[in-house]
């Protein structure tokens, strides 16, 4: 039986062997660049709320009101996670949009759970369906409304992008609110038009550059391009936070304006910053 010292020695030898059998795929420079970029991003995102945004581009601030209307009318709400899914055979940019839509689903699910509104989640991917089911579970758990969980459901609409569009165009249900967030491609207009016709209100978003016009023409709140990924960070921008950000942004703009104006005046010789600051020329 090896002693602890021998065990540590063997472990160090094993690690040394592994390191000795390895080589960098890109060389030391590019590897450090990749790790450096990752470090910068990690520093940038270590905050839950974005700093600059003061608008409600996707109309997400109105979800609570939509849920109240749904509760009053006794109808449900629909969330479509787009048509890329997570495990489907499509490009990674499209599948990442489904991941970006999951925090938005969680936000809507919590609002629906608090209001007692049943939620229908539409997806064409089994993995996304499983994760959406977990999101619904978590929403009801966090709002202590587990007894309402059975009224919400995840609908697997079938394989393919046209299947989802066909379903929303032919469904007879009349939800109070519809939210479509995620990858939408050729079928985007059909998908959003179907939701808009049946639902009382519609919020839509996609990061597909070629489908920006579809969400803009769909009426209601729209998230175009990067906004879909940015929106989850702005979900809690309530009145107080929004006012603070607006005030800070105006101060920054005013400061920049003063700096630019003073620079122009200094360049054309009307004022001299040193004289102004030191009070030279004053009586």
């Amino acid at each position: 039986m090896p002693t602890p010292a021998e065990l540590v020695g063997r472990f160090v030898e094993f690690v040394g062997d592994v390191l000795g059998a390895s080589s960098l795929r890109f060389g030391i420079g590019p590897t450090l660049v990749v790790l450096g970029v990752l470090l910068v991003f990690l520093q940038l995102v270590a905050r839950p709320i974005s700093r600059w945004v003061t608008t409600d581009a996707g109309g997400l601030a109105g979800i609570s009101r939509a849920m109240a209307l749904a509760a009053e009318a006794g109808t449900d709400a629909v969330v479509s996670l787009g048509t890329a899914g997570i495990g489907r055979a499509t490009d990674s940019l499209a599948r990442l949009q489904t991941l970006a839509a999951l925090p938005l689903l969680g936000h809507v699910a919590r609002a629906a759970a608090r209001s007692g509104v049943p939620l229908r989640v539409l997806t064409n991917d089994p993995l996304a369906a499983a994760i959406a089911g977990s999101a619904l579970d978590a929403a009801h758990e966090s709002t202590s409304t587990a007894e309402r969980l059975g009224r919400s459901r995840v609908v697997m609409v079938g394989e393919g992008r046209p299947a989802a569009a066909g379903l929303v165009m032919t469904t007879r249900a009349r939800p109070a609110a519809a939210i479509a967030m995620g990858s939408l491609r050729e079928e985007a207009t059909l998908h959003l038009d179907g939701l808009r016709h049946s639902a009382g209100s519609l919020s839509s978003g996609t990061a597909e550059a070629s489908q920006a016009q579809s969400v803009l023409l769909a009426s209601g709140g729209s998230l175009v391009g990067p906004e879909l990924f940015q929106a989850p960070a702005d979900l809690r921008t309530d009145v107080y936070e929004r006012t603070t950000v607006i005030a800070a942004n105006r101060l920054i703009v005013a400061t920049l304006g003063i700096i630019i104006a003073a620079s122009v005046l200094s360049l054309i010789g009307i004022i001299q910053p040193n004289d102004l600051l030191l009070g030279v020329g004053r009586p």
């Binding site: 080589s23 089994p126 697997m156 393919g160 729209s222």
Partner: protein, 205 residues
Amino acid sequence: MRRATTPAIVIVVGVLLLVDFLVVNDSLSQLADLAVNAVILIGGGAAVAAVAALAVRRAGDLWRRRGDPVGAVLVLVGIGAMLIAGLRPGSAGATDPAVRWLISALLVPIAATLFGLLFFTTIAAARRSAAGRGRQALVLVAAAAVMLILLLPFGGEAGDRMSAAASWALDVPIAAVFRGILLGVAILVAVVAARTMLGVGSADE
């Protein structure tokens, strides 16, 4: 406990794949392949479970006489036809001629028919948006109208100039907007990935 387990799995697998991307090592490569294959297996299992759940739900709809019976029958017949074509004795699976016929003669034309509606729905959406007098929609519809006029098949010098203007619009302002969107998406995708690895959720949780 559940909240701690999921980020831990994400971090471990994410770091493993990142290190495998940066470092050439057989052991690491095998571990990374194992993780990727496990994801593929989970995805396959979830797909089978989802199809089974869909079939059970539609069969339940028929049995209890609720929902849309025509849709339920079509779903069940479709699943059955594809299963029989792909799994019958002697079938070549996904490459079997019967499976290919079902796809090329039924699914593709149905999807094409659906996409044929795009012309009408796009025109209707543009008309509705213009009637709503939303600023973004008005700019969008006006730009589309200008591009439509520029792309009209006129001949002569005027036609050449219109065609050149359309090409310039596509190559410069429209391409710039597209690239701007793609750059913004790429940056925020990286931010979202880092948020996921750090376990930074949305602020209202």
